[in-house]
Structure formats: structure tokens, C-alpha cells
């Protein structure tokens, strides 16, 4: 599906097609994204400047499944005329996914340097942590603690008021 981008300026106008950037995922899928949307990613912004005109930009750290969603996110956030409240609602729906997918989004947002997506997803994980006891957190995220019971008791005692 790879095609060379039309020789047009970045500014969109009815008669002139918008500039599209081609991306290739780690598993070989290709996606097209509008330049304005691509600029949400600092990584892509740098790559575009270096003139990868025509050839798809390879992204070995992101699978097709996740890249598709990232493209969707960036496109939505580059859309003009969306009010804050509906964007927030859209974002909430966007991250209403399995825990593992949220982590995939975080890694992709980190690699592609998309501050809005990184911020959104980090807050989702913070919300998962909030309100849980240490034990619940360990179970939820499958974290193995190698504190001995005495060590753990000591850590609790250090800040006992926080457990009240």
C-alpha cells in the first residue's frame, strides 16, 4: 500500500491534498498518517525533517496493532475544532482497554515521544495504583516482592502514619 506522497505543501486546502507520511511497523504493516498528526510525535518530527520523503519510516519498536491505534490517536488530536470536553471523553474511551494494551501504548508513546499520549496513559496506570494496598498492587501488576516479612514490616513502620 506504499505510495509516494503527493508533491504538495503541508498546508491543507480543498484543492490541494494533505501531505501524508508513511510508517512501517515492526511486523511489516504500512500506515499513512497526515503530516499534522505525525508532528504530534517528536521522533517522527525529527525523521520528517531529515527528509525520508517517499520511503516509509520504519518503526521497529511498534507492532502494527499498536501503530494503528497510535495513528488514530494522533489523527484525532490533530483534528481542528474539537472541544476539550469531547476530546477528553474520546481519550477516556481510547484508554478503556486491557492493562497490557495500556502498557503497549506507553512504550509506543515513549519511543515515538508523544507527550499527550504518554501523559494520558501514565495517568491511567497511576489511577490503577491509587487506592490499592501494597498487596493488591502486587497482585494486580504481578510484581514479586522480595522483601522478607521483617523488612516489609520495617518499611511500613518507617511511614506508619501513611497506612492509617
Amino acid at each position: 500500500m506504499s505510495s509516494s506522497p503527493p508533491p504538495s505543501s503541508a498546508a491543507a486546502s480543498p484543492s490541494c491534498p494533505k501531505k501524508m507520511i508513511a510508517l512501517r511497523s515492526s511486523d511489516g504493516e504500512t500506515f499513512e498518517i497526515e503530516e499534522a498528526a505525525a508532528l504530534q510525535s517528536k521522533t517522527l518530527e525529527n525523521m520528517i525533517d531529515e527528509d525520508c520523503a517517499g520511503t516509509p519510516i520504519p518503526l521497529p519498536n511498534v507492532t502494527g496493532k499498536i501503530l494503528a491505534k497510535v495513528v488514530e490517536f494522533c489523527s484525532k488530536h490533530a483534528e481542528p475544532g474539537v472541544d476539550d470536553e469531547s476530546l477528553r471523553a474520546w481519550d477516556a474511551e481510547f484508554v478503556n482497554v486491557e492493562q497490557a494494551t495500556v502498557f503497549d501504548y506507553i512504550l509506543a508513546a515513549n519511543f515515538l515521544e508523544i507527550p499527550t499520549l504518554l501523559n494520558l496513559t501514565c495517568n491511567v496506570v497511576a489511577d490503577m495504583i491509587r487506592g490499592k494496598t501494597p498487596d493488591e498492587i502486587r497482585k494486580f501488576f504481578n510484581i514479586k516482592s522480595i522483601f522478607s516479612p521483617e523488612e516489609e514490616e520495617e518499611v511500613r513502620r518507617e511511614n506508619h502514619w501513611a497506612f492509617e
Binding site: V102, D104, C122, R130, P134, F141, K144, E158
Partner: protein, 427 residues
Amino acid sequence: MAVQDDGGGCGGGEPPSGGALDAESLRIPLGPTEKQPRRTREEEATGENAGLTELPTEIISNILSLLPVKTLLRIRSVSKGWRSIIDHRSFADLVLAQSLGCSDVTSLISIVGNIEPTHFGCRFFSLDHQTGFAVPLGQLDQTINSTRLDWQSVNGLICFDVGDLTYLCNISTREVRALPPAGPDLPVHLHRVMHSFSALGFDPVTRRYKVMKTWVSNALNRMAGVITANKILTLGTNSWRKIDSGPIDFPCGGSVCINGSIHFLTLDLMSNKVIVAFDVETEKFRTLALPDGALNQLHKTKLIEFGGCLTVLDYEHLEEENTISMYVLEDYKNRVWMERPIVLPRSWKEDLSRSERFLVGSVRAEEILLAPRVTAGEVYFLSYDVEKKTLKKVQVHGLPLSLLRSPVIIACAPIEYVHSILALSEV
């Protein structure tokens, strides 16, 4: 008097991204874990996936820095990896940056009154300005002696003296730490009765906290010679160092740390009002002249930070004329003050009419706060928004009922504090 010993972090010396962590934590993966089979909701709830532990350390740090200090202290016990992140010095900077970037305002208020039927004393609360809800800071009640009416907090830390000892307190973690005792070290023939005061400063470039302590002799005739001595302690070290002399009198009207210098109002040798600035990095004193309009009297003047600038509040005429003169040092380098007169709507007096005296202060959100000194049945503050020129009453709720049954004294104007997880042993 009981002072809680250092309960702060341990082992924060190693960077979390080094190999020092145990196996269960933070390796950097090559890519998303697409190879794992699709998870069911049930598996997810029981944590069959290992997603979180595969995230890079900086990301986990960023996520954790979004959480409140109380939560962070609790989740230190989740794993050694998390404890290592939370205790690390650079993590404290992340938390501070989050708190400074947040528009929610929290302040520390202190109230003297009856908590139980027989227990009259000073109690501290943290006040959320959005909701008006006060949370008791019980752990601090025994240790902070609120004789001063004008503290400030520096990045969420406050410094206070009890007798000859200097204490530091992190309001968010409730940690209180006594600094090593110090004396003015004067030659025997110069011994006098000396009183001391301490001030905390922060240098944003080196990110170091220092406490500056001044001793001033009790000379009746100032011109006959005032003896002063100054010492400084860099937090993280355990010893006081003697430095060149500075101000010759006690501060009157609070201290404010701005632009890496501690500023306070005091009197010079000729009994003129002056602002003394102590540069935290160079450890030198200098003076700043007050703006012309603010020279007249000392007692109803206060230094605050307003909109990021050093500001003098002069409320001498507040009661008769409903005015506060505000001088903002907008151009620090060239010492250019901007005068911003404030005229309060007359209604402010109706709310404070039952109180003979009141306290003036400011918190981060560019408001001026008025606090009734004595109040009965309810605790509240008046908050004046300087930009919008509006006055509103902030009712404080969540206070123990026994406190409100008799009149209470507001011990000091609210001081704004940001949330800090800095362990005082480690600065």
C-alpha cells in the same frame, strides 16, 4: 518535648537504572509484548501479565510521581525496586515539579483551641483550598511550636526554632528533624545574651538546601554595638560553618526564598527598614531598598511571594481605608518595584467584624488571604483574588467538633506548601 526521629528513606544513593536492583524489576524490553496470548478480563484482574515490571525505570518514575505523597509512602513497601525509585533524590525533584505544576493549592494552618475537653493546645491542619477541607496533621502537633506568626515554606519544607535548636519539617511526609546544635562561638569577652533565628533557603541551580542561622545580642542601645554571628548548614552535611556577618536584627514580617536568595524584612543600624537578601549559593548578604511608599512603619508590613516575584504587602491602612499597598519587585535585577494598590470591597469587614485583629498572608494562587485572629463556631479565611478583584470566604470544614465549641485562635496566616517527598536525611 518529643521530636520524631528521622523516618525518611534509606539507600537512595544508587541510581535506579543501574544494575543495583533485584531481578523482579525493571529491564528494558525491546518492544511491546505482542507475543503473549490475548488476556481475558479474569487473567488481567489476577495479574497474569507482567506488563508493568517491563516498563523502563523512567516511565515507572513518571507514573509514580503522579501519586500523592501519602500513597507513595505506602507503596514503598510494594517492592525493593519501587522503594529504590521513591527514595531516590531525583524522584523528589519529579514530585516537586508535579506539585508546582498543579493548580490545586494546599496550605498549612495552625489553630490554638480545645481539641478534647481538657486539652488546650496548637493543632495543625492541611487545608485544600478548592474544597475547604482540613485534614489534621496530628503527627506534627507535638513537635512544632508555633510561636512565630510568619513562617514560610520552601518547596514544602519549613524550618523553625525551638529554643536554641533548629528543626526542619517536611509537611507532606510529616518528618521532623532536629539539626545539630550550634552556638555563636564568640570569644569569652564578647559573651552576651543572644537570641537566634533560622531561615531555610534553596538554590535552584545546585538544588541544595541550606539553613542560615543568625545570633543577635540583646543590646539596648543599638549604636553602642550589636553583636551578631552567622552560621550556615548545608543539608546533607552535619556541621555548621561560620560565615560573614549579616543582618543585625530579627526578621519582622516573614522570610521568602526567591531566585536562590532568602529575603527578609528587618531594621538596619539606623533603625531603618530594609530587606536583607542572603544568596544561598554564594553565602553572602546584601540589602535591597524598599520601595518609597513602604518605608513608613514596620509592623503591618509583610514579605510574600506573589506571581513569582518578591512582594511587600503594607496593610497599615487596611482597617480604616480598606486598602492594602502591594509592591511587586517585577524586575529583580534592576530593582524596579511596581505598585499595585488593592482596595477591598467593604464587605470584608462584615465577615471579620467579630475579630479585633487579623492576619494577612498569601498562597500560590495570587490571592491575598485574610485570617481572623480569633473566631468562634467556625473557621474561615477571606481570599481576595487580585486579578479579578473578587473576595470570597473559604469555610474550613472537617475540623473536630470539640475545637469549634469554644473560641479558637488562628496562630498564623496559612502558608502555602507544595507536596514534597524529600527525605530530610538525604537532601
